[in-house]
Amino acid sequence: MSVILELSASEPQGRVEDPRLLTGRGRYVDDLKLEGQAYMGIVRSPFAHATIKGIDFSKIRSSPDFIAALTGEDLIKMGVTTISQNQWPPQKPAKRYHLAVGRVRFTGEPVAAILVRRKNSLEDLVEQVEVDYDPLPVVTTIEESKKGNTLIYEDWSDNLSQSSDVKWGSAEKAIASAPHVIRAKEGIARQESAPIEPRSTLVRYKRDEDAYEVYATVQSVHGLREQLASELQTPEEKFHVKVMDMGGGFGSKGSQSYPEPLLACLFSRLTGLPVKWTATRTEEFLEAASGRDEYCDITLACDRDGKIVALKANVECDVGVTGTQNHMSQLSLWTMLGPYKIPNVDLRLAVYATNKMPLGPVRGAGAPEGCYFIERAMSIMAEKIGLDPLELRRRNLSSEKPRGTSRPTGEQDYILLIDDLVKHSRYEELLKWKRDVNSRFKQQGPSHSNLVAGLGVSIRGGGGFGGGTSEREESRGDSHQWSSQGESEQWQQGEGRESQRQTESDEWSPSGEAGTEGSSADLDFMSEYARVKLDRHGKVTVYTGSSPHGQGEETTFAQLASEELGVLLDKVSVVWGDSVLVPFGIGTFGSRSAATGGSAVVDASRKLKAQLFARVSEVTGTEAKALAIRDGRLVNTSQPSAQLPTLAEILEKLGVPDISVESVFRLSSMSYSSGVHLCALTLDAELGKVKIVRYVVVEDCGRVINKAIVEGQLHGGVVHAVGGALFEKLAYDDQGNLLTGTMMDYSIPTAMDSPNVEVYHEVTPSTVTLNGAKGVGESGTNAGYAAVMNALNDALSNVRPGAQVNIAPATPDSIFAALAISHHESQTGSD
């Protein structure tokens, strides 16, 4: 079933973007300097919950460096109201302000902004702003939030921000009569995206045009344009938003509405000066959206053959003060259905507000959590019934493609993926290795070793949201909780964009005058904008609404256009990250760019070629069907010796300098890759130190456009999960103070911590994307948590039966705590 699509253009060695990034010529926002720029600083709350009684700038007003100051009250006077909040999924609206008004609700919340002349004086002056606070009781846990003694928002009746459920069949009944039932409480702590580049923005207000030039670190230029336009009540065309090279995002630079770009716009408008702001790392930890913080009480039931008969779960999420985007835990619910066919399902979600910074998407955005919950439960079940964890999964998966074509979610063969994993990981040898290591641990005397070994596997289902199969659609029948349209449509509707229209400009469109029918309103999560232009020198320019920041789309999108148009790769350049050069776009997040953005590039390229050939046919009389472009030259395939005019001659005859076609391409369904992961690790039972010995991934991301880039995404994705499973935790004290405000306290994996991730491929091209690719950017992270935690718990059970760490990260202290508890339990006989 695996098909390798032939590439007409061979995969390049190295990326287009590499030379500038390797020589220090990359341009990140903080590298930019505008003549006379001033520096913005943010005064942040030291309290997690307090009333603001007064803000006093008198100490800094006399400083020669002081230019201006703003408070929340000033913003209201200027007509700026609350921070935008996506309306999907349904949730209570939270009255959050760019600068706090009356009350602060999390440590680090912006309270005031100041503008100063010199960078060196910025922190001095921020420190001298005096804010009078009256502390209020603080809510830092889901438990306290549930009690509702203290409300995060005065206009809410309780602290529940959103709730939902997914149900079909009768889980309760199936569990009661099942021979094998496991129940576990699993969770992932609050964690950070932590791109190495902190957020930054630079704004120049142009008085004569009453317009703003905005440079910012965002994953969506058009998203920021929309937010600024809406929050400043100014038409979109007044904002020229540009993203430069960007030092990673991982969700934290996604579509959140952060206060700083708006504040920089206001300061620039007020003073006429260009305004620069760059976050310190501590500001990143205090404010840049963190993720996870989800906990799940899960019950899984199997029949005698190891077939899952029911899944029941209560998921709770600590969303902090709630953010711009609050869809992550909803995605967890869908993801935790896994790739399995489960006849009885009862999943409930409750999302609670606390006095912590707003939650937001972090690589995977809810999918790692959902995958972690179900895949931990599967491995716990396998251990309970004495089955190999891969065997239990095999029994619940199928190699058949699902019937029906409503959602091409079954575009992989899970059994084949597992077979590959067994082969490439040399699974039998690993099992023997594990037995050997663990027998040395159990031995006394000189041959004793402190190391125990563990193996863990996990599966990330592919397809659309939740990796559903058509069987599931059938099995859930007329579930009252889900619309019959399926999750993808729900998502789309949730975005508030119901247009099903696929806008294309098929019209002949010379010289970039492409009469686009598209607009931002036609774009949603499942679509992207592209324009492809061919000039008389045979040079191709691709304009994309995607916004790469490490994903290498300058290279892969050039590959796609080169392949479609038959021009050499070095004749293609890619333009992105500029709201004027690229009028519409969605951006780069959610593993969507190769699938949506790449399809739009293919669509525009194909239409461009068709238009060109139609014109050539008119001019030369050659049948359009017989025309092709080879190495940038027009050829007549039925008469290869025939002389055809060059591109320049054709365009000259038509009287245009170039031709260009736009596409707003919308997928009928999202298309995500699937993967099977295996982690082999050792745990030093004395030190609590974990070492990952091997990490193997078998992935089916459909067509692999650029192998190096795809594998790079998987390597980084897996290591992100390794950090999340073993080290990363944003810790707060009981007063809501962030205890992990630097990279010393919040540790992301170093080279010494990271495994040499091995990646193998199966290729089942997607049928919904025009290039056959499926989204892969988050896949490594999604499956990684469960693989590592399953391996760790396997190792722990060899130290003491029953010892488990259920909340990631499994730091040494939680490992010791688990060993101590199980030791205590076994001594008191309660286990």
Binding site: L22, G26, P198, G550, G552, A751, G780
Partner: protein, 158 residues
């Protein structure tokens, strides 16, 4: 101080960090700031033949020092240094933000140890955080660079 073989002088406030002097005064923006506390290594430069995190050094401490930044790594500005070439050939970078620091640490490592083992490479770049690559291709790139530098062979791994 000498930076990338050129003499520079300037007056700075005593508390100015070397990284800010390089970026703001000399406009050498290839050296990046990722964490302000010396943990991420994006600001790594070579100072008097040793790597330093330039956010942990005051500009005045670098008085009369010899500094090498990513901009000065390739002697011929039109070509890549073999280490840069190896990173390009082996996809050793994604967003590129940590890359200048990783290149400088790799340069330092390979000067001291021209044939490092995988363990030694990992230790050599342990002070540089990268959130994109998972270090798999960073290690591969440094290994390839070692081969190019010591044997003059092509930098692509089979």
């Amino acid at each position: 101080m000498r930076v990338n073989h050129k003499e520079y002088s300037g007056e700075v406030e005593p508390r100015t960090l070397l990284v800010n002097f390089l970026r703001d005064n000399l406009n050498l923006t290839g050296t990046h700031i990722g964490c302000d506390t010396g943990h991420c290594g994006a600001c790594t430069v070579i100072m008097n033949d040793k790597t330093v995190k330039s956010c942990m050094v005051l500009a005045v401490q670098a008085r009369d020092a010899e500094i090498l930044t990513v901009e000065g790594l390739a002697e011929d500005q039109k070509k890549l240094h073999p280490i840069q070439e190896a990173f390009m050939q082996n996809h050793g970078l994604q967003c590129g933000f940590c890359t200048p620091g990783i290149l400088m640490s790799s340069f330092f490592l390979l000067q001291r140890n021209p044939r490092p083992t995988e363990e030694e490479i990992r230790r050599g770049v342990d002070g540089n955080l990268c959130r994109c690559t998972g270090y798999v291709n960073v290690v591969k790139s440094v290994r390839a660079a070692a081969r190019i530098l010591s044997e003059g062979k092509k930098g692509t791994e089979p």
